[in-house]
Symmetry: C2
Subunit: 361 residues, 2 copies
């Protein structure tokens, strides 16, 4: 079975790009990636990781269009799994390459969210919720998370201050990341006094939505080593689905279990809300009700996370994989964490599905 490598990565700064459309952003990420490769790559597969294009840019057939934009013929697929689209795309590419029949896969995550008011984005992000019993009765992902927070506070006897620690750490890291959207530090007071969204959830507990594009090139070992000396191995992927549950994210637990006994040196997790960061860390074994009190000891989200680096919808997982790859290679331009094993946990907005990706130098 062929080993699978990540041979090149690229990111553009997450921001609001009124002057570029979705395909422009995707193409920019690919051009940046190709500059880093030794050979002229014609990928066998082009995967477009995106969640909201129909509602934001009124476009389908995203992967075919990208192929035609790039002037290449390939196997085109667009993969959508809510906010976990990136994890789904990388895991799919992993197995495609394991077949031995596919030698290279270009995976581009791109999303265009910055052109729209928050009310519209709240609506489209709430499409992650179940139609009949959640979305159509008026729930949003924010109100769901507020319920999660209240239950957590009651169960573990913590106050809102507990959650406010997460955005402080994320903005500290994000302020060092040249690709981050909200590139500034915040203090506890600012977080605690920020706009209330759905009591007790505040604006700083939510992901910063914006435009972004990131690309990675996954190859078999032989081809990958020709393309670049700077590669990491994709050691394993895991996945799981589960119903939404109060106080737990069982899908994360399930997806981790398939990796075996993992000891990663650093990780990127999907902090769509501060509460989700706590719940994901606690599914990993950090002490329940206390994980956010010990962030100085946990090597998590040196990018600044969705809070500060920003949240470009279905491109998020591709950013996470790019970031961990660059960390392991020692070339990430922001806050550095050294190590040989990195983990990406890509979940959807409420954790009804999870993908885990283990990378090794």
């Amino acid at each position: 079975m062929p080993n699978v490598l990540i041979s090149a990565t690229s990111m553009i700064k997450i921001d609001r790009y009124y002057e570029y459309d979705l395909m422009d952003l995707a193409t920019q990420a690919v051009v940046k990636l190709l500059e880093k490769t030794n050979e002229n790559i014609k990928p066998d597969v082009v995967i477009f990781s995106n969640t909201y294009a129909e509602k934001t840019v009124s476009q389908v057939s995203l992967a075919s269009k990208l192929c035609n934009n790039l002037g290449i013929s390939a196997m085109p697929i667009r993969i959508e799994n809510g906010d976990a689209s990136g994890g789904a795309a990388v895991s799919t590419a992993y197995y495609l390459l394991k077949s031995g029949e596919i030698k290279s896969a270009l995976i581009v995550g791109a999303e265009k969210m910055g052109d729209f008011p928050a009310s519209y984005l709240n609506e489209i992000v709430s499409e992650n919720l179940n139609e009949k019993y959640q979305e159509k009765v008026g729930l949003t992902t924010q109100s769901f998370s507020a319920i999660q927070m209240k239950e957590y506070m009651k169960k573990y006897g913590v106050t809102y201050d507990y959650f406010a620690q997460w955005p402080v750490y994320m903005h500290k890291y994000g302020s060092e990341n040249p690709y981050a959207y909200l590139k500034f530090p915040v203090d506890l007071k600012t977080v605690k006094e920020s706009q209330l969204v759905s009591d007790p959830l505040r604006i700083f507990d939510t992901a910063a939505r914006a435009d972004g594009a990131s690309a990675i090139l996954m190859t078999n070992e032989e081809l990958g080593k020709k393309i670049s000396e700077n590669y990491v191995k994709v050691k394993a992927v895991g996945f799981s689905t589960s119903e939404f549950r109060i106080g737990e994210i069982p899908s994360v637990h399930g997806a981790l279990k398939t990796l075996g006994d993992v000891k990663a040196d650093l990780m990127e997790i999907h902090d769509s809300f501060s509460i989700n960061a706590a719940l994901i860390l606690e599914e990993m074994g950090y002490p329940r009700g206390k994980s956010l009190d010990n962030l100085n000891e946990i090597p998590v989200n040196p990018s600044g996370g969705l809070k500060s680096r920003g949240y470009p919808g279905g491109a998020t997982g591709i950013y996470q994989v790019s970031e961990i790859t660059q960390q392991l290679l020692g070339v990430f331009p922001g806050h550095r964490i050294s190590g040989n094993k990195g983990l990406v946990i890509s979940t959807d907005e409420l954790g009804t599905s999870a993908y885990t990706i283990l990378l090794e130098r």
Copy 2:
């Protein structure tokens, strides 16, 4: 490398289901499929093939939601490649199974188009067009096809009557298919006098949009033979992308070439418009400018095609694979064509990408 089988298939009648939502239809197709298997299947992967859900039912995370609806944990991915989503989904599953690490994949194609007026559907189907230079300047897939028809008529010296032969054949076959949406025959006169959509394109030259769901179970050989004695082999898949071109569909040619020298006994092709049927047949080697004059000799679309069986968006390719499988097994309940090798050609609305799937008894 493991052999890949299709171990079970199911379809629901294509129709307007005002009483069921997208997940209801998808779930019905899965329940019907599970009734045909010997064992209680827990698929490793669940692929949801769909193109327009964001615009029709305001939902994302389709595959995760289906997993949770079915009460299973699996690797969830939703695959979108315009109208070729089904071909993309089956090809992806083929390579996933070739990896040896994935043993079974449940692929569900489902789409909900019947609740909407034609004007809205025209708009969302036109999202298949390129944003900047096609869709946003007001082109629709219908006007594009009308241009194709005019060029074809000029080049080969044929009249509109030439194209009208296609719907007549499709409705003849469709009237025998219990799963078909427009289950009635039509004569040449009716087609020729039908509503003009975009001169010279008439309503009978266009696909009949409706709701549908079809499911297939793909497995490795060992597992597949336990599940059912009624299986077909997936011999090969091919794919290609190309720019839209007048008078040609280069992607079909490219996708066929990767299969080698194929002699199929029967096939299902994506006749989004009568002109597309002609162009696809001609990319396969049938005489240019004459293919539709010889439909009695071409074993194509015994289902009735998109014209008569109906066009459930991104579920179409899964119907095609189900139909060819049932034909090869001799159990298709409509017009029968006997043979051992069957071919599915799954293209997007205008043929900018194509997937070919070769099945063998």
